[in-house]
């Protein structure tokens, strides 16, 4: 048939690109994510210029606003087995990362129109937390809300994670939140009109040393008490779930078949579209510059597109939260930690669950599109807002992956990137009122699992904000717990 292809790797047509532009996805990073162009084998080599021309012709882009998407290494598809041969000095922390200087808040992408001069609620951060909260506020009739996002939708960790969703947590609070989130995910497409491709292939945690094995066993008992059907498996039984695994050095596994993976990006688009339908403004490419504060209240949020007078401010900026909080002279204990991730060439389905070796922080799953998507934490990673990619990561990941799944040695890496975990001292979030600034509400510190918690947390938070009823979640995880010394540590963190 007479299609005009822009990206033959992913079968994206001129019509697809124009449809995305007309929906308001007018920057290259968003067009890439919404249409999928440039995400295939060639990583945009044959199609990027075609899309640039379509954007330039659309009349929807300011001068200088046609910018390339970030080119990710490797430039050519490169086998995992080769990456595994790169030397790594585990005794030293990782240094550097490419590309140098990421400008996803380029001024040429910022709207010239001012932001609204007043709003009841200003939410800082248009990641999944902020958008899910805005959507839930809208559902409860609170529509005088503005969401401020410094980049494009998906620019932060919400657009950079591996899409894993699981109920296997170490504390009752997190298990219940995750259960509720997964229930909400099941009905997301019906509520929002956009597919998120939830696939409940399970999570298979592997433990190599005794302490981790004990943790998994203890966890499984707790999960079962919450109605989560986690099973403890022997290495042989785990191999029935994924026959290609070697289970080298593995003592036991924990498997919950109801965990799964989703496609992260449509969550943000779905929530944002739902907000816009009820008149909630989602302002992208807009930076928060400071606050006007008097008598223990935030009065205005200052942005590079004007000031917004407001009754309440929600800080949901993920790894950027400490930086924004500092503008209000609030010190958060959160620290940003880079986590790198990669994606391979697409393969026909072979891998059911997301597999994670909890000892090393290795995790990998197969996306709905067939790619192996995986990452691994680096114990030497220093705290910093660094989203650069390193060869060290790909090498460490490839070695750890090939130890457990040697059959993918010839499989080629197409793209690597990084995002930042928003890490707190007890691996639990910071929620609720800020001591000394009562109308600044915290919604950060999710340590790499905010994505999967967002639907449930946002639902509770919107109810708490609009009803005035107490909710123990916002006391339990209040910022003042660090001063009180009442910490309940979550230890089921990957990486």
């Amino acid at each position: 048939m007479s299609k005009q292809l822009v990206c033959p790797c992913e079968d994206v047509t001129v019509d697809d690109v124009n449809a995305a532009i007309s929906k308001g996805y007018c920057d290259m990073e968003s067009v890439k994510r919404y249409t999928g162009f440039g995400t295939g084998i060639c990583q945009g080599k044959s199609c990027l210029s075609s899309v640039a021309n379509l954007l330039a012709q659309s009349g929807k882009v300011k001068d200088g606003g046609v910018l390339p998407f970030t080119p990710r290494p490797p430039l050519q598809p490169t086998e995992l087995s080769l990456f595994a041969s790169a030397p790594v000095d585990e005794s030293r922390p990782p240094v550097g990362g490419v590309p140098v200087s990421l400008h996803f808040t380029h001024h040429a992408l910022r709207s010239d129109a001012p932001v609204p001069s007043r709003a009841k609620v200003v939410i800082i951060g248009g990641g999944v937390m902020g958008l899910a909260l805005a959507h839930n506020l809208g559902m409860r009739g609170e529509r005088d809300v503005v969401v401020l996002e410094k980049g494009y939708l998906c620019a932060g960790a919400s657009g950079r994670n591996g899409g894993g969703v699981r109920m296997q947590w170490g504390t009752s609070a997190n298990i219940e939140l995750a259960k509720r989130s997964i229930d909400l995910m099941k009905q997301f497409a019906r509520d929002m009109g956009i597919n998120i491709w939830l696939r409940q292939g399970g999570y298979l945690f592997l433990a190599k040393n005794k302490a981790i094995a004990d943790r998994l066993e203890k966890g499984a008992a707790l999960h079962n008490r919450h109605g989560v059907p986690t099973q403890i498996l022997t290495p042989d039984a785990a191999r029935d779930v994924v026959p290609e695994l070697t289970m080298k050095g593995v003592q036991l596994a924990a498997y919950n078949k109801e965990d799964g993976v989703i496609f992260p990006w449509p969550f943000l688009w779905g929530y944002a579209q739902s907000c816009q339908k009820v008149g909630i403004k989602v302002e992208t490419f807009t930076n928060v510059l400071g606050f006007e504060i008097s008598q223990g209240q935030v009065r205005k949020v200052k942005t590079d597109r004007g000031d917004i007078a407001c009754d309440q401010v929600v800080l949901a900026a993920g790894a950027w939260s400490p930086e924004v909080a500092r503008l209000a002279e609030v010190k958060l204990p959160n620290e940003p930690h880079r986590h790198e991730i990669l994606s391979t060439e697409p393969l026909k389905p072979f891998l059911g669950p997301l597999v994670s070796v909890l000892d090393s922080g290795l995790y990998f799953s197969q996306s709905m599109r067939g790619e192996i998507v995986g990452g691994m934490g680096d114990p030497k990673e220093p705290a910093a807002l660094n989203m650069g990619s390193t060869l060290r990561f790909v090498s460490r990941f490839a070695n750890a992956l090939l130890e457990q799944l040697p059959v993918v040695g010839h499989i080629k890496v197409l793209r690597q990137w990084a995002g930042c975990y928003d890490v707190t001292p007890d691996n639990n979030p910071i929620l609720g009122r800020t001591p000394g600034l009562a109308n600044l509400l915290q919604m950060s510190g999710f340590v790499g699992h905010g994505f999967m918690m967002a639907p449930a947390v946002a639902e509770r938070m919107a109810a708490w904000m609009t009803s005035g009823n107490d909710d123990e979640l916002f006391t339990r995880f209040n910022l003042d717990r660090f001063a009180r010394g009442q910490l309940e540590r979550e230890d089921m963190i990957i990486g």
């Binding site: 299609k3 005009q4 079968d11 080599k45 210029s49 075609s50 041969s85 597919n195 939830l198 010839h410």
Partner: protein
């Protein structure tokens, strides 16, 4: 496609293509062997199962992927033919020629919106998710584990050059003359790039060979895949294909020169992905590097000097020219290839491979010509990735219709240790590319602005 006579080729061998024995010549890209045997449809596309055959012939698209010796998604345009190698098509049921999933393409002529399709429709969305999972992906798991790779090799030089084409080899020559320490990484097995494989003017300079440069300074069959940094500084990560297999190479340097040219461009037009639509650089490389005439009756489309040069090369190699269509919108000038017409609204015709081209002439007349090849001669899209990873600035150039690295005339970029030359900066002919390489070399050696 037919083999040109009088061309020096490797030993005659056969390869196994889905159980069929295909003649080939040792060392030629195995995609060429298939094309010369009349095989145009290599695979089916990932979503609509449209037929696909080679387009770029330089590892910049995904049209020529096959399963090779049990390894999925291999660029056959980059894989030398070896006796007995096993090639299989992917993503087609029951076969590439008759693929039942081609119906997806016909059933959804306006495309298929995976975001909204069946979203929230009970039952349908679950069925769709299952079907989508099974249709997704390209290629099956490899048959075997990869062999243990040699330990990565590390080099330290003053200047690392990625790309030994026109600009890169011109720069290397200047550096060699001045005794500088450098390493030149070239993806092909020879230096010279377009000078050996392109449609270039007759008076173009002669390409260098590795022997013209200091021993050990040139790494052929070596592709730079990233510009990274670590505690020891910045380096190119590269993959080298040697007789003993693949090896990772890290080249640390104080300064970097990126001369990796550009990617062949696929302009949007109807059925632009049909087998038999071929990038201009691929058409010229087939003729000049591999001795294969890519079509006997060819429609050449494109603009500028590259259109004229490709038309001349095809004609001189024995092809008939069904049409030469200038897409720039301007009337062909006095220096244009004879018979060039100005046209737009292209449409490739044919069911599983090109059988004709339709277009609208500038005067409004609708034209249809029969042809077996549509060759697209457009300036390439600059390959800015490595330079950008190092901090160079990349800008959209409307007159070029592409992004290019911003650089001064000596190739200096926004990153002080990253220099660029040649096609990476956009729209240069071979002469200008070579000049830019020489100027960049002077600048790297500390020459004035």
């Amino acid at each position: 496609m037919k083999r040109l006579e009088g061309f020096q080729r490797g030993k005659a061998i056969t390869v196994d293509f889905e159980g069929e024995s295909i003649s080939a010549h040792e060392g030629e890209p195995v995609a060429c062997s298939l094309l010369a045997s009349g095989e145009f449809v290599f695979s089916r596309s990932i979503k609509y199962h449209r037929p696909r055959g080679p387009f770029c012939m330089e590892g910049s698209c995904s049209h020529c992927l096959l399963r090779v010796d049990g390894v999925p998604n291999v660029f056959t345009c980059q894989t030398p033919a070896r006796a007995g190698m096993r090639l299989d098509r992917q993503n087609a049921y029951p076969s590439v020629k008759v693929d039942i999933f081609e119906s997806i393409d016909w059933l959804f002529p306006r495309g298929l919106d995976h975001h909204e399709m069946f979203a929230g429709v009970p039952v349908a969305e679950h069925v769709m998710a299952k079907v989508a999972r099974h249709l997704a992906g390209l290629g099956l798991l490899p048959e075997k584990e990869a062999p243990a790779r040699m330990p990565a090799e590390t080099l330290r030089v003053s200047i690392a050059i990625a790309g030994g084409g026109v600009a890169g080899s011109a720069a290397a020559k200047v550096l060699a003359e001045r005794g500088a320490s450098f390493a030149l990484l070239e993806r092909e097995d020879v230096l010279g790039g377009k000078l050996r494989s392109g449609a270039v003017p007759k008076d173009a300079e002669k390409p260098l060979s590795s022997a013209d440069l200091p021993k050990g300074s040139v790494r052929i069959n070596t592709t730079a895949v990233g510009l990274y940094d670590d505690e020891h500084g910045r380096y190119f990560a590269a993959v080298s294909h040697g007789p003993e297999g693949l090896r990772l190479l890290k080249v640390y340097a104080e300064q970097f020169l990126v001369c990796i040219g550009g990617h062949p461009r696929l302009p949007p037009f109807e059925n632009n992905d049909l087998p038999g639509v071929l990038a201009g650089p691929a058409a010229s490389a087939l003729i000049r590097r591999h001795g294969i005439l890519p079509g006997e009756n060819v429609a050449v489309v494109g603009q500028g000097e590259s259109l004229k040069l490709l038309a001349e090369l095809l004609k001189a190699s024995g092809a008939q020219l069904a049409a030469v269509v200038d897409l720039s919108g301007a009337d062909p000038g006095p220096n244009a290839f004879p018979g060039t017409v100005s046209g737009r609204e292209l449409k490739a015709r044919g069911r599983s491979q090109v059988a004709g081209l339709a277009f609208t002439r500038k005067d409004g007349e609708k034209m249809k010509v029969r042809c077996d090849l549509v060759a697209v001669a457009l300036p390439p899209s600059p390959s800015f990735e490595l330079a950008r990873q190092g901090g160079a600035k990349v800008v959209f150039r409307p007159e070029l219709g592409a992004f290019a690295v911003e650089a001064d005339e000596s190739g200096r970029t926004a990153a002080k240790d990253i220099f660029v030359a040649g096609g990476v900066t956009g729209g240069l002919d071979v002469r200008a590319s070579a000049e830019s390489g020489r100027r960049a070399a002077q600048a790297l050696l500390g020459g004035g602005r």
